[in-house]
Symmetry: C2
Subunit: 420 residues, 2 copies
């Protein structure tokens, strides 16, 4: 007998190139990694050596990689539904900023980060990419919860929670990176500049340099609203993307969040520098920010992942609804039912998302040697029957509540739809 | 002791005018009707007389009217996910029509109608409005399942399932109405003309006349696609809505399904005749049909309900996701985060929907004397916490899987999220 874990008796979608659909699929996990995967009767090792207590029966469900949420602010679950259906400035200045000013502290951030991790895990998300303040507390909650994550300390040129003196914002970010670097193999530090309109050019450049020095992901909200575009154009006589590019901020370790108001030239710039994009359709829709030209970005070869954004602007952290929304939104906007097909959307929520946040070699697909971040989706409830194509069922019919099993790093965190 | 049923210990949203939010709310049900509702300590009758086994504890959840699905084709659950991400003509002519031609028969229609009713009930939908062929079998499945429904026999000028001779399509519809009129107090017959481009003017007029003679709802897909608009314009030199109006088809017992490609004049015509509209955002998006000007219709005073459409074009029958989609889609299209607020969307999915399908006096809100169509939504899972505003939580955070209790006509059909 070994300590290996077997997940079997399911339809296996590995999300590898070619997107195979493997009937009677199984995944064998040793320690935190995937030792083998494929049709159960073709696995190399003797499955008889797996302890009966370590055999997890998918009961005919879909075995697939855990979902990757490329953009969120997990402590903001405390503001879920605090203020909706309002003009952007009233929402932000009248509700979100005041609430952040009075209610954010290390304890509340830790508490609501844990809360969000539970929400994320229950919804089949095994990795999230976050950006906020008091991010060390966020990272500790992530580590405690068992989720995999990229944790980005916020940088902004205003007094911020935990960083009252903005002249020390880069220093605070660097200190954060050092502080959590060895916290957990599951937690990767990052630096998150709020935006090109709340950070000076000097701050942006210094933050990117600090991220490069540490070899980590640099995140920034970019080209989210028309106002931002006009502001940057007025100040710098160029587009947001061109401005960031000219500052030397774009490379494969840069995650551009939103990228709503971009044109073909911007797309070319992003692609040339191999920067990645986090698409957050529900947030962009709810705040009436606009619609990112995602099909054109993907056609251009840009790596685009999916994000929920924080709970103040969505108001959940559910990648199943985000996939469905992305698929349907772009179809109707392009007036073409063929764009953003189910496979494309599922790739965005898994392997492409992992690549976008710099974790493409560790997670996002089920392949030998990758970390064992795996979920099982139940396919027996009426809304999942019949199932002609599992990709289609996952994007257009499945709900996050259909997730029955969630494993991160080889450890089961959700079983029978319940947190362990 | 009485046989009355009490649902209590919840936040009661009655969806009456003024949209009260009643803490410690309760609803008392006698036979199939609502006897009383309000704060538990203000109900008129002695609640001590309710048998302990008839007390249903909402456990702090939201007690609200069951949702009303204003447009679906429930037997089409058999084609859920059969063909997605395809051009409209390939989808329809290459997949849906051939599948309908070979697989529809009274038994399959009955079986998959039952399946859909289970899906609908589990998702908190207590009433659906359907249109299809073999509709008598659909109606029998509805009656068996316990759901409330408007069942519309399809009329089309082509050989159709169960109606091989199109010259007898009106006769078939009239016979259907007679056949199911006394099937169940929960099932209301209707006549459903497929569209202005698949029914001649003579057929449309005769079908409407038959519906008027019976005093029942007349349903029709109208102004769904640009192609339809161009076709009708070419043949009749007017808009689809003007064409239907000129044929005398529009009154308060007419349900216009989709109404995507309509202008301000059309909106005026619809409003003038008090015709109602079923908005199906997910279907319109997935098929890339277009975006109905719903905020303008509501501003004009038109009664607009929400529909999922059939499972071949959605691919589920879930009004929670439909509310969320409607809210977010119109915000981003109007570039205004204030339109389609949570209250408006929840009204569309309840009382406005009930009015749109002619059942506004029986269901859609919790009021004394109305039928007891009631659901309880659990608010304890992480994605529903915190809850600042129950309307916002229901539209932007809740999932259909949060529905814990479903009662139709005073009979509990779902308890603890499971079908009884």
């Amino acid at each position: 007998m070994t300590d290996d874990i077997l997940i079997h008796n399911g339809l296996l979608l590995t999300m590898e190139d070619g997107l195979p659909v493997i009937e009677n699929g199984a995944v064998l996990i040793r320690d935190s990694q995937i030792l083998d995967c494929g049709p159960e009767n073709q696995l190399a090792l003797d499955l008889g050596r797996v302890h009966p207590g370590n055999r997890m029966d998918a009961q005919g469900g879909i075995i697939m990689p855990g979902l990757i949420n490329c953009h969120t602010h997990i402590p903001m679950s405390m503001f879920r539904g605090l203020a909706d259906d309002l003009p952007l400035d009233v929402w932000l200045n009248g509700h979100v900023f005041p609430a952040e000013a009075t209610r954010l502290n290390p304890d509340s951030v830790h508490q609501w980060s844990l809360h969000s991790c539970q929400e994320l895990l229950l919804a089949g998300t095994t990795t999230c990419c976050d950006g906020y303040f008091f991010e060390a507390q966020v990272a500790m909650a992530m580590a405690d919860s068992g989720i995999r994550a990229v944790a980005g300390q916020g940088v902004i040129d205003f007094p911020a929670p935990g960083v009252p003196d903005p002249t020390r914002n880069i220093q605070a970010a660097t200190a954060f990176v050092e502080e959590i670097r060895n916290l957990s193999a599951r937690i990767t530090p990052s630096i998150f500049c709020h935006s090109p309109y709340t950070c000076s050019a000097a701050t942006l450049v210094a933050a990117k340099q600090a991220a490069e020095d540490a070899g980590i992901l640099f995140q920034i909200h970019a080209a989210e609203t028309q106002n931002e575009i006009h502001l940057i154009k007025g100040l710098n006589n160029r587009s947001v993307i061109a401005y960031l590019s000219d500052l030397g901020l774009l490379n494969e370790r840069t995650l551009l969040v939103h990228s709503v108001w971009i044109d073909d030239q911007d797309i070319e710039i992003i692609h040339k520098h191999a920067a990645c994009v986090a698409h957050c359709p529900e947030s962009n829709m709810k705040l009436a920010s606009g619609i990112a030209p995602v099909p054109r970005m993907i056609d251009a070869g840009i790596t685009v992942g999916l994000g929920t954004d924080g709970c103040a602007s969505n108001n959940d952290q559910d990648l199943f609804s985000e996939m469905d929304m992305a698929a349907k939104l772009h179809k109707v906007i392009c007036m073409d039912p063929c764009v953003m097909d189910a496979r494309t959307c599922l790739k965005m929520a898994t392997i492409e998302g992992a690549r976008a946040i710099g974790l493409g070699l560790q997670t996002g697909s089920i392949e030998r040697g990758k970390q064992a971040d795996i979920i099982v989706v139940d396919v027996k409830k009426p809304h999942m029957v019949p199932m002609y194509d599992p990709y289609s069922s996952l994007v257009y019919s499945a709900k996050s509540s259909d997730v029955s099993l969630v494993m991160v790093d080889g450890i089961v965190r959700v079983r029978e739809g319940k947190l362990l």
